[in-house]
Amino acid sequence: MSKIHVTTSVNGDAVEFLCDPRETLLDVLRDRLGLTGAKEGCGTGDCGACTITLDGRVVCSCLVLGAEAEGREVGTIEGIANGEELHPLQRKFIEHAALQCGICTPGILVATKALLEKNPDPTETEVRYWLAGNLCRCTGYDKIIRAVMDTAAELRSESKELS
């Protein structure tokens, strides 16, 4: 089968790749671009382990075709830190011990970052329901919520200082 040529941007870098027309964006990221942060947890869009952003919108990359990335902006876990400097969200997840096996962590961070960009002051309930599509089998979610609320507060106080 002939492959499709796709020109896109991943974490701000211009990227080109060839992919099978039926290949998911998740497989493209993992197998062709070496970005293995997004994981396949279910392959049906129910667990959130493969969460990425497409033009800023949170999507399950297992439900998006590689070809659909054409001309779009793809954001993955690998693009959240600024070089060696962790994003406050990443720092807070470490501080709050909001991870165990780590498989769901990339998806949860990508989804949360998108939430905080949209809504810098979410209520706990908003956070809980925003993340309801990201399953975690290890933590019981308590520390995850705490880490998110704490990050939101820190980011708000930072942006206050700047303004």
Partner: protein
Amino acid sequence: MSVSKSLAHDAARLHVTGTARYVDDIPVPQGCLHVAFGMSEIAHGTIVAMNLEEVKSVPGVVMVLTADDMPFANDVSPSAHDEPLLATGTVHYVGQPMFAVVATSHLAARKAARLGAVRYDELTAILTIDEAMAADSRFEEGPRVYQKGDAAAAIGKASHRVVGTFEIGAQEHFYLEGQAALALPQEGGDMVVHSSTQHPSEIQHKVAEALGVPMHAVRVEIRRMGGGFGGKESQGNALAVICAVAAQATQLPCKMRYDRDDDMIITGKRHDFRIEYRAGFDDEGRIAGVEFVQYARCGWAQDLSLPVADRAMLHSDNAYLLGHARIESHRLKTNTVSNTAYRGFGGPQGMIGIERVVDHIAHKLGLDPVDVRQRNYYAEMDGGGLSAPRPAAPPESLSGKMKNNTTPYGQEVEDFELHGITEALLRSSDYERRKAAIAEWNAENEVIKKGIAFAPVKFGISFTLTFLNQAGALVHVYQDGSVHMNHGGTEMGQGLFQKVAQVAASRFGIPVEMVKITATDTGKVPNTSATAASSGSDLNGMAVKAACDTIRERIAEFLAKRHQLEVGKVRFADGNVVVGSKVYSFAEAAAEAYMGRVSLSATGFYKTPKVEWDRIKGVGRPFFYFAYGASVTEVAIDTLTGENRILRCDILHDAGESLNPALDIGQVEGAYVQGAGWLTTEELVWDDAGRLRTHAPSTYKIPACSDRPDVFNVALWDGSNREETIYRSKAVGEPPFMLGISAFLALSDAVSACGDAYPALNAPATAEQVWTAVRRVRNGV
């Protein structure tokens, strides 16, 4: 000292940056092939014909393997050699692997695997507990029975009795990383296997058997799993073995990972149980005698079902001193997936049996279940918890012959902590006031009813297969003072590697950053036990301590001699080695020792003392010690729909002197939610043909973020371990799972607000179950 500090998980930075490598993330060499199984479509039958021509014709398919192609052993059983990797003439459950497709891509292999044309001669399938009992289809010659005293007589003489039957559903592990393996062929027929496994030594053993080579020709490595929960104790064998066989045949790397649906259909789960009970008790709810009949649906192969069912029997007392008890256990062989280890390993099923009995007793007598629980507790012996209050005198022995604080299997309970834990938790959770408020709410509200319940946990720590209670470690100190640490334990997110690294750092008196944590590797530490039975840090922590202490003593002896001091005068602390007035940095000390030709590498070994157990007689000391905990859960139910949610949960859990409180609390929280999930939303549904109908997260519901209790207060009990464990800590992996039982009991409490009858809820208490129970109670059935 770095022990007892809440340091972050060693891989936390890798996890938040998406760079932690799991088996499926390991870059594979060019030409790597992918494997998928063709699976049985029926529950029981003989294979009349298997036409695989269409499978072979799919572009990308390199090879198709059947049982006939297995060069040596065709078995992936961890116990009884009764589990062929590829079916041999007969299929025993829907989903059983029959053939394996080896192809150039994961998708090609999976697609081709669906194209097998198999004709079966169907045989009668035994699917349910009733069918298995009727056919006497079981493992072992008959039921196991453990008993103490004369339960039937005690129940007969008691002034009150309850009788009931209780169904308890199975549970899918739903480790978020599915099963995966990668086999890399080496020169001379050797094999390296990366396997997402809790038991690398067993993978090594099964691969060696399948390849017909000694174990020394196979090396198994695992850096981390994306969750295990017992589901990767034996269930990874099939993938590792088929990859190794395919890799040997093709001389190319071979990789396999199950798609989620396949994973849920092929792999074993927590055993579903039926428990029948009969108990006799006095006016105050004191249990005189209790009888249990436990029926465990084990599935088609033995796997770990015998020790699982044993552990269910061993936890049918939970926290209660039973004067007379009889526990009968049936291990039933059915044409369903072979059930396996799952966090608690039968303990949860046994424990919820007695919790059900106590709940039923309290309901019958109109007493607060907490009072009934406390009245039946084991006594606290001298030297119990540090801050625990002394108990009242232990209850009188009924036969006059028994010791006063003995389990039904003859082990003295010497470390009972629950009197103090219970008092403290009832206070901190404001139980009395909230219970009164809930009664008021329920009196005023017809539709939404609330319930609250307390549940204690006493969980036995040690493998009941006594020989497994051993561990090894390998520690190197390099000339620059950096330390390489390896042990037989595996990391599945629980933080074992971090906790053990903190032990190593403490022994050398150095910062934990100087200790390199390395992948579990059968080439470094041989003959390891599975990381299971909550034993990871108890066993491996002690083995690493032994290895570190050997090296430390060598360095100390060398430096003491040089400075003409006693060895005892050499101290390792704050990154230094202090020898009299001379202070070396640890790096300097290591370099000096190296120059002095001192060996800076050592192995360590540990075996758990005191344990001795006869599983046939049901007598002995299977457990080194017990871990304790308690929880109070408040729930609300909608009586019109059965919908329910957890409003608040308070937990006090005993991790002894915790090696790392942050990691331990994480274990407690996660275990509670997983335990509550088992008993509420997680429902596995098989149809009449034996097909699993809930094989993906779309239909099988584990708790989501939105299900987290609104209020979730978790604390560790300020206790110790009276036994000499690593820094007096306690195992924490499984025990808190059973704290979730309070969520189930709280639902029962809420339902009982609807009428006078006992709710007799079955598990999982899904919305449907709750709704049915509400109607039952309202109609007074």
